[in-house]
């Protein structure tokens, strides 16, 4: 895992946790249990979570659920905040482009 802070002088070494697997844009990726979608994507080197209506790339910004910059599509449901939603095994995450499509 490239961007993980495995060793830290204050927080100590990263504890062993279970790895889980999720999908992003059809690609299988690994994450730790307890990761949010945002932290899992960042760890995998993916900074672009989606695109705005006008096609600008979009990533996270506040990381605490306040700014709505990080909207992704999770298992088909749009407008999910990647920064406060935990990843789950088998979850399918996609980049949201502009506004989401309705599901019925």
């Amino acid at each position: 895992m490239p961007r993980r802070v495995a060793k830290h002088p204050i927080l100590g070494d990263l504890e062993e946790t279970n790895e889980i697997e999720f999908e992003f844009e059809g690609q299988k990726l690994k994450a730790f249990k307890g990761d949010t979608i945002a932290s899992a994507l960042i760890d995998n080197g993916l900074d672009i979570f989606g695109f705005t209506d006008s096609g600008k790339p979009r990533g996270f910004f506040c990381a605490i659920g306040k700014c709505s910059s990080c909207l992704v599509i999770v298992n088909g449901v749009p407008n999910i905040r990647a920064c406060i939603t935990l990843v789950e095994d088998g979850m399918k995450v996609e980049r949201q482009k502009g506004k989401g499509n309705p599901v019925w």
């Binding site: 495995a6 760890d43 672009i48 790339p57 990533g59 506040c62 605490i64 709505s68």
Partner: protein, 602 residues
């Protein structure tokens, strides 16, 4: 059936936790609600040691303070609901939105303590929407809570305490900090914090700002430039930096939405951080059963937030139980008064004066210690030149050699007759501002507080001064480990005469688019154009441009828009209407409301 609690605390940061502890101690039934995953608010993200005095956890690291307070609250049977947002305070109830269970339901409370803290400000520069432009708090959350680094090379914007602390934490997590830019002509944060990063070679560029992010899909670099006395970039002074991350630490604004919805009077007091609820010295707002504490009341720091939490908590407890708690309340008020005497509290004192609350200033030592003590003796050298509210050096010294001179804001002096060079204070000082020195026959010794991966004894190192410049070569004499506090001391053998120079070491191997409203992608020039067309009210602009109508509810862009209006119309922000704070404060789904309505306990 609508549930009712005696006291509801919104926010489990230091203020909310201490408020809940004060109430529960006195027998009040308390429910604490917080949207975070872990209790503690800002605390779990903080890996540095806090200032203040040891009664309020000075010298303990933020995340550990959070754990301690939480444990105390749990012991007192305080109930917690985490991952739950108070999505609105309505006429007919307070709505809790449990994100985990996807349920929203209403409750009632006799008293509410709102301790919702603050949110980060945003600034405009070209391409500021690119992934890789992140808030400082976001970087801390990711790096210290989730343990991932969202980049390798960082530019930090803002040299207040937050910018300085994030820079230091980034270095600890293994990232590079290319520079900290600061538009004003001095470092806003504590010098002791600034020195921690300066000595590691991070330049703090005063009178500089960011003008542009470089990159198409994500941040690949940044353009910075000098600014004139009106903070306008000076043409021709631009420099490019190769960074993959631009971390914004440009200040905080109180999160007042819920207080406003509870009908508390909101006023614009820039000294307190912008829009704040009016409150009296007991932390009561203009609404009788609504109290506030912490950053929502004034942007300050954890110790004052904790004390305010206690004051609010005891006041509520007094009303709920009918017990006389005036002694405890008085004690806390005196604590607060002592904290706020110093120069870093000047703004807060001025702001609170507007509410008719007066705090005295002064009453502490301001002069620096002149002598370095007797050459040849192993002794401390304190480099803490500002009047900051902090005193663990004094309280930790086993021989009583250090005194800060009366009030906690005083400048520490050493009594060299008493100092035995034991190093306890070096390990305790949250500013890493105390060093040990000793002149020996052929060389000198300096002991440096150190919070990074430790070197080996006898290792050769480059010696760095307090600006991170190389001043010579030396050797590690020994390492004294501190497994509990994690501030270790590295003793270096250095050339004579450099005792007051060496403060760090390194191992020898060594406008396109300025977005204001992110949700609706509205740029600064669109706003300025609309103002030219005559839309000069925030509400009019909002309706015309849809600014702050997006999912963030205006948190990111409200103040920025008001500043633009103010700059263009010359009307001070305090005289502009702030616009409405409409619930819910976080979007809640239909499903959640339906599910919440079917459940019958909190």
């Amino acid at each position: 059936m609508v549930k009712k609690v005696q006291a509801l605390v919104i926010g489990a940061g230091p203020a909310g936790l201490c408020g809940s502890i004060a109430m529960a101690e006195s027998g009040v039934e308390v429910l604490v609600v917080d949207e975070g995953i872990k209790p503690g608010g800002q605390l779990p993200k903080q890996t540095h040691k806090f200032f203040g005095h040891e009664g309020f956890f000075a010298s303990i690291r933020g995340f550990e303070i959070g754990d301690k307070l939480y444990k105390r609250a749990i012991d007192l049977k305080v109930k917690f609901k985490m991952k739950t947002t108070v999505s609105g305070i309505y006429e007919d109830g307070i709505v809790l939105y449990d994100r985990d269970k996807e349920e929203a339901y209403d409750i009632k409370a006799d008293f509410i303590l709102i301790a919702t803290g603050a949110s980060e400000r945003f600034i405009s520069f070209k391409k500021n929407y690119l992934p890789g432009v992140y808030g400082a708090g976001a970087v801390q959350t990711l790096m210290n809570q989730y343990r991932v680094l969202p980049g390798k090379d960082f530019l930090i914007v803002g040299a207040g305490n937050i910018g300085l602390i994030v820079a230091y934490q980034l270095l600890q997590a293994g990232a590079n900090v290319k520079a900290i830019v600061e538009a004003s002509d001095k470092v806003g944060g504590y010098l002791v914090h600034a020195n921690k990063v300066k000595k590691m070679g991070v330049p703090i560029l005063l009178r500089h700002t960011i003008v542009e992010a470089i990159g198409e899909d994500k941040v690949r670099g940044a353009v910075i430039s000098e600014v004139d006395e009106k903070f306008r970039p000076i043409k021709g002074t631009e420099k490019e930096l190769v960074v993959d991350n631009i971390c914004l630490a440009v200040g905080l604004q109180p999160s007042v939405e819920l207080a406003a919805q509870a009908r508390a009077k909101i006023e614009y007091i820039p000294e307190l951080g912008g829009y704040v609820p009016y409150r009296d010295e007991n932390m009561k707002t203009s609404v009788d059963n609504v109290y506030i504490a912490g950053d929502i009341a004034s942007i300050e720091e954890a110790s004052t937030a904790m004390i305010e939490g206690y004051i609010a908590g005891y006041n509520i407890a007094q009303k709920v139980t009918g017990k006389d708690l005036s002694e405890k309340i008085e004690k806390m008020k005196i604590e607060l008064e002592e904290f706020r005497r110093g120069p870093f509290s000047l703004k807060v004192r001025r702001g609170l004066k507007k509410f008719g609350i007066n705090y005295p200033e002064g009453g502490y030592r301001t002069e620096q210690q002149k002598d370095d003590g007797p050459a040849g003796k192993l002794r401390v050298k304190i480099e803490c030149p500002q009047n900051i509210p902090c005193n663990p050096c004094e309280t930790s010294c086993p021989t009583g050699a250090i005194s800060v001179g009366g009030n906690i804001n005083g400048i520490p002096h050493v009594n060299y007759d008493k100092c035995i060079g034991c190093g306890v204070c070096v390990m305790k000082c949250p500013g890493l501002a105390i060093f040990l020195i000793q002149e020996q026959e052929k060389h000198s010794i300096v002991g440096i507080p150190y919070e990074f991966e430790l070197p080996e004894a006898q290792e050769r190192v480059l010696l760095l001064n307090k600006n991170g410049e190389i001043v010579g070569e030396g050797e590690v004499e020994k390492v004294v480990k501190n497994n509990k506090g994690k501030t270790h001391i590295v003793f270096l053998k250095i050339p004579k005469g450099l005792e007051n120079e060496v403060r760090h070491f390194s191992k020898i191997k060594l406008e396109d688019d300025e977005i204001v409203c992110r949700c609706e992608e509205i740029t600064k020039s669109q706003i300025e154009e609309a103002i030219n067309e005559g839309f000069t009210d925030f509400e009019e602009l909002r309706r015309y441009l849809r600014i702050s109508m997006g999912p963030c509810g205006g948190r990111v862009c409200r103040l920025q828009t008001l500043s633009i209006i103010s700059m263009k119309t010359g009307i001070p922000i305090s005289e502009l209407e702030s616009g409405r704070f409409r619930p819910p404060s976080i979007p809640i789904s239909f499903k959640a409301i339906i599910r919440g309505d079917e459940k019958d306990e909190i």
